[in-house]
Symmetry: C2
C-alpha cells in the first residue's frame, strides 16, 4: 500500500483529544480543521515539570536508496509511547518545492507517518506562505524605498536581500527586476531562493518569542549604501510590519502520528542550504509537555546534526541526551559502490566498504560527547548476514546498532531501540562544542571541514576572502557558521560517496545573516533555489470530485 493510502485509511483522532494526552487545555489550542492545531504562544496553562530528555535523530549521507530518518523519528515516538514513556515528536514542515519535485513530502512512511499527510505536505497551517509573504513584502519595501527617493542611500547593486518562493523554480535563480522604464522601478540584478533557505525561516526557527523575533528581524542586513555601510530592516523602519506577518506562523503546530502520538511540526529550513532544524519553540514546547522529545535534523550528520549542535544548541540552551544515527543496508551498499538497480543483491563486502560513511558520522557525533546509537532502518531485501556484519562493525566502533522495522510495524518495530535510548538518556551529558564563536571564521570552518567532514583543507575564493576581512571590520566574525553544501557527500562534490579523504572544501561566497545570527558559507556549486526534474512528482498528482488526493508521496 502507498504511504498516502495508509494515511488516508488511518483512524485519525480529533486534534483536541491529542492535545488532551499532553494536558493541553482547549483554550491552549487553535484548531485548523479537525486534525491540526496551533498552540498559544506562550502556553496559557501551567504544565508540570518533565524529564526534558532530548533525542536527536540524524543519518548517514542520503542516497537515492532512501534512509528514512523521518520514518524512524516517527516510529520512535510511537515506540516510546508503547513503552508508556511520555514522548512527543518535533519535526520540520515540508516544503512544496520537493513535494512537487523529486524528493516527495516529509511526513515519514509506511506505518510510521504523521497525519493528515496531505495537509502537512501541502499548505499545512500556512507558515511557509506567511514567511514567503514577509520576505517578499520586505523586498517590495526595499525596492520602493530606492524608487521613492532612496533616503537611506541604498546601492541597488549591493542589495543582498533576495526574494523567495516555496517552489523549485530554477528560472528564478537569476533575474533582473525593475525593468520597463522610469515608472517601473530601478533595474537591478536579483534572484529568488526557496523559502526554506531564507533568513526569515531561520529567524522563525531560532526565535524564542515575539520580542526575540522582532529583535532579529530588525537586525537583518538587507544590503549596503553607496558608501558601503550596512542597512538593516530597523533602518528601513518596517520591523513591525514584517513581524506582524508572522503573528500566527510563530505558533507551533500540533498533529498526530498514525498511532496518535502528539507531534509538533514547526519551521522547515533545509539542512543543505540552511540550518536544517525545526523551531526552537517547537522543541521547547515538546520538552515542556513530554518527558522525551524526539527530533530530527535534516540530511546527514555532517549537515543537520552539525548545525543542530553548533547553531541550535547554544540558542536552545540544551544539548541532546542521545543521538540516533539512521542507516540502511541498501544506502551503505550504495556508499560502497553498488548501483541502484543491484541493491537487492546481498553484498556484505560493499556494505562494509560503505560503512566508512556511517563510521565517519559515528566519530563526529562521539566527538561532541553525546551518547550515540545506530538505527538500522529495515528494508525487506536486507539479509541476516548483512545486518550482523553491520552490527559487528558498529560494535567495533563502540556503538550499538539496533534494527528498527518502523515502516512495516510502526512503533512496535522500534521497541528495542527505544529501550536502549531510554537507558542512554540516563547518562550524564558531557557536551563539548566543536568551536567557540570567538574563533575566527577560518578557524570555525576549518574545524567543521576537518573534524566533521574529514577533509584536509579549505580554499576561499577571492570574493570570500574579501568578505571575511569586511566581516572582521564590521564585527560580524564572532558568529556561528552555517555551511551550505551538497547533502550527498561529506565533501562538496556530490559524487564522492563513502568517506572521501584529503579533499578541499571550496568556499565561494558568504551571506551574512545577522537576524538569524550566523554567516552562511556557500561551498562548491550548491544552489539556494532547487530545480524540477524532467518528470516532476506534480505530473502524477490528482484530486477527485470529492476532494480526495492521489499521487503525493
Amino acid at each position: 500500500m502507498k504511504d498516502i493510502e495508509i494515511a488516508q485509511n488511518a483512524q485519525i483522532k480529533p486534534i483536541i483529544e491529542i492535545a488532551q494526552k499532553v494536558n493541553l487545555d482547549s483554550d491552549e489550542i487553535e484548531q485548523y480543521g479537525p486534525y491540526k492545531a496551533k498552540l498559544t504562544l506562550p502556553l496559557k496553562g501551567e504544565h508540570p515539570k518533565t524529564k526534558e530528555k532530548l533525542i536527536l535523530v540524524t543519518a548517514i549521507n542520503p542516497t537515492p536508496a532512501g534512509e528514512g530518518k523521518s520514518t524512524v523519528t516517527v516510529g520512535l515516538g510511537d515506540a516510546f509511547n508503547l513503552l508508556n514513556k511520555k514522548a512527543m515528536i518535533a519535526l520540520r514542515e515540508p516544503s512544496l518545492g520537493p513535494v512537487m519535485g523529486i524528493k516527495g513530502g516529509a511526513t515519514g512512511g509506511g506505518y510510521s507517518q504523521v497525519i493528515p499527510m496531505e495537509d502537512i505536505n501541502l499548505h499545512f497551517t500556512g507558515d511557509m506562505h506567511a514567511l514567503t509573504a514577509a520576505n517578499n513584502t520586505l523586498s517590495a519595501l526595499i525596492d520602493n524605498h530606492i524608487f521613492q527617493g532612496n533616503a537611506l542611500n541604498i546601492d541597488q547593486r549591493r542589495v543582498i536581500w533576495k526574494r523567495v518562493l516555496d517552489i523549485n523554480d530554477r528560472a528564478l535563480r537569476h533575474v533582473v527586476v525593475g525593468l520597463g522604464g522610469v515608472m517601473q522601478g530601478i533595474p537591478r540584478e536579483d534572484g529568488f531562493d526557496i523559502t526554506v533557505a531564507s533568513e526569515m525561516m531561520a529567524i522563525l526557527c531560532l526565535a524564542t518569542d515575539i520580542n526575540d523575533l522582532k529583535e532579529r528581524i530588525s537586525k537583518i542586513v538587507i544590503g549596503y549604501t553607496f558608501t558601503k555601510e550596512p542597512v538593516t530592516v530597523g533602518d528601513l523602519g518596517v520591523t513591525g510590519a514584517i513581524s506582524l506577518l508572522l503573528k500566527d506562523a510563530i505558533k507551533p503546530n500540533l498533529v498526530q502520528t498514525l498511532a496518535h502520538t502528539p507531534a509538533i511540526i514547526h519551521g522547515g529550513p533545509f539542512a543543505n542550504i540552511a540550518h536544517g532544524c525545526n523551531s526552537i519553540i517547537a522543541t521547547q514546547t515538546c520538552m515542556s509537555l513530554a518527558d522525551y522529545t524526539i527530533t530530527e535534523a535534516g540530511f546527514g550528520a555532517d549537515l543537520g546534526a552539525e548545525k543542530f549542535l553548533d547553531i541550535k544548541v547554544p540558542a536552545l540552551g540544551k544539548s541532546p541526551d542521545t543521538v540516533v544515527i539512521v542507516a540502511t543496508v541498501r544506502a551503505l551498499k550504495m556508499h560502497g559502490g553498488v548501483a541502484k538497480d543491484e541493491l537487492e543483491q546481498p553484498n556484505v563486502e560493499a556494505l562494509l566498504k560503505g560503512y566508512a560513511n556511517l563510521q565517519k558520522h559515528l566519530g563526529s557525533m562521539q566527538r561532541y560527547g553525546v551518547p550515540v546509537v545506530v538505527a538500522i532502518n529495515k528494508f525487506v531485501s536486507d539479509t541476516p548476514e548483512e545486518i550482523a556484519a553491520l552490527q559487528a562493525a558498529c560494535q567495533d566502533d563502540g556503538v550499538k546498532a539496533i534494527v528498527a522495522d518502523v515502516w512495516a510495524q510502526g512503533g512496535a518495530g522500534a521497541l528495542q531501540l527505544a529501550e536502549e535510548i531510554v537507558s542512554l538518556c540516563e547518562n550524564e551529558a558531557d557536551f563539548k562544542p566543536l568551536y567557540q564563536v570567538e574563533d575566527s571564521i577560518d578557524e570555525k570552518i576549518t574545524k567543521i571541514v576537518t573534524e566533521i567532514y574529514g577533509g584536509s583543507d579549505v580554499e576561499y575564493s577571492l570574493k570570500a576572502k574579501k568578505q571575511m576581512a569586511q566581516f572582521v571590520e564590521l564585527g560580524w566574525d564572532k558568529l556561528p557558521i552555517c555551511m551550505a553544501k551538497t547533502q550527498y557527500s561529506l565533501s562538496d562534490n556530490a559524487k564522492a560517496l563513502g568517506a572521501p579523504k584529503d579533499f578541499t572544501i571550496h568556499i565561494r561566497e558568504f551571506v551574512p545573516k545577522l537576524g538569524a545570527g550566523f554567516l552562511v558559507a556557500l561551498t562548491g556549486n550548491v544552489l539556494t533555489m532547487p530545480g524540477l526534474p524532467k518528470k516532476p512528482a506534480a505530473d502524477g498528482m490528482d484530486i477527485d470530485a470529492d476532494g480526495k488526493l492521489s499521487g503525493i508521496y
Copy 2:
C-alpha cells in the same frame, strides 16, 4: 476610536455559535482558530429552502474622500437581522498589497466591520497564498518543461502565463528570468501580477465545484508554440497538481460582523484589473442558508457591478433582486471639483455638479432592469441641506436615496434602507443583459463603453486588432469581456472625475483567460501589479510582545 480598536474591543463569539445561527452543524465547519471557519464543500447537511433574495451593493467611482461600500454592506447585513430577516453577507477577501500599501484592508469600518479584522486582512485562511502557490507552481512547471527538452514546442517569447505575488511590488512588473547560464533555464521576459488579478483567482471565484475548477484549470492557455498554436495546462498534464493546491481554498470562509451576523468572505479579485466579485460558491452558500444575501462588487458600478451583471450573473444563474449604489456627500463634492482639504465646507453646488457621476451609474443599473436604491453613507460633515439636495436629485431620476449611518451606528443606522430593500426585493425581476456573448468582441466592448461608461468611441492598438482577429480564428471571441480600467473615472483617464462625455476608451492589449472564460481588455495605462506609495501603510504597523497588532486600517 480607530477601526482596529473597535474590532479588538468587540465581543466576538465562537464561530461555532455563528454557524448555528444559520443551521450549520459542527461537522459542516472546519475551524481555523476560534473565530474563523471553512465550510465543507458541498455542505453535508440538508438546509431548508430560502427566499434566495440577492442584493448587490455597488458605488460611485471612488475618490480619496472614501465611499464605504464594504461598510454599508456590513451595516446592511446587521440591519436586516435587526429587522428579524435572516440575512448573510458575502464579501471578497482582502489582498495584502493594499493592506501594506495605501488603500488599507477591506473589512468595513467603524461599527460596521467583519471580525477578526486583523486575521481577515492578513493571511486569513490562506486562500490567497494557495492561489499564489498554484499560479507559480504552474510557472515553474512551464519553465521546467521548456528547459527539459520542450516536447510541446513552447515558444518562450510567447508564454503569456505570468507569475504572481499578493504584494504591491512595482519592481516585479517587468523582469527577465532564466539568467545565469545554461544550467539556470532559458532566458525570457516575464512579469508578476498581483495575485488578485490572476486567472487562478478568477477561476476560484467562478468555479461551482471541484470538477468545474479542474475543467477550468485544464483550459488555461499558458502560451503558444513556435507555430503559434495555443498550449493549455491540460496539454502540460499538470491539471491535477495545480487543482489539488486549491483543495482548501475552494471552501468558503465563515466569519461574523461586530453584531454577529454570519459573513462569508471568499475569493478576492480586484474590480479594476479583474472581475471584482467574491466567489460563486460564497454567494450560493449564503443564498442556500439565508433569505437575504447581501454582497458587493468592487470599486464603482462601471467596474464591479458591470462585471457582476455581465460575467458573474450568467455563471451564477441568478440576477440581483435589488442593486444598492453607495455614495457620499464628500465624494460627490470631489467629483464636483472640490479639493480634498475643502470637503468639510458645505457646498451644494459642487455636490449637484458631482451628482453627474452617481446619475450615470443610476442609469446604467436601471438599464439592466433591476430595482435600484441609493445609500447615502453618512459622514459627520454632511449638512441637512446637502443631503436634501442629493435626495431630491435622485428622486428626479426615479430612485430613492436613503441615509445610512452605519459607521457610527452599525445596523441600527440602516434600518430604513433595509426596509426599502426588502420591499424592492418583492418586485418581479426583469433582468436584461447588456450584451450577448455571441456579439463580436468590438460589439461587446462598444456596449460597455457607450452604455455603461458614457464614452463615445473605442480605439484599438495594432496589437489589440491583431489579437481580435486571432481570437476569431481560434473561436475565442464568443466570451464575455473583462475590462481592465482605472477605478477613478468612468473613462480610462484617472483624472477625469464626474461624468466625462465624448471620450474614447483605448484598448492596448487583450489577455485571453480561457479557464476563467473571459477576455481581459487592458485599457489606457492600467497596471496589473500596483506599486507602494512613498509612505506605505506598513511603516505604521506593529505587533507587541503579547501578539496584539496596531497600525492596520
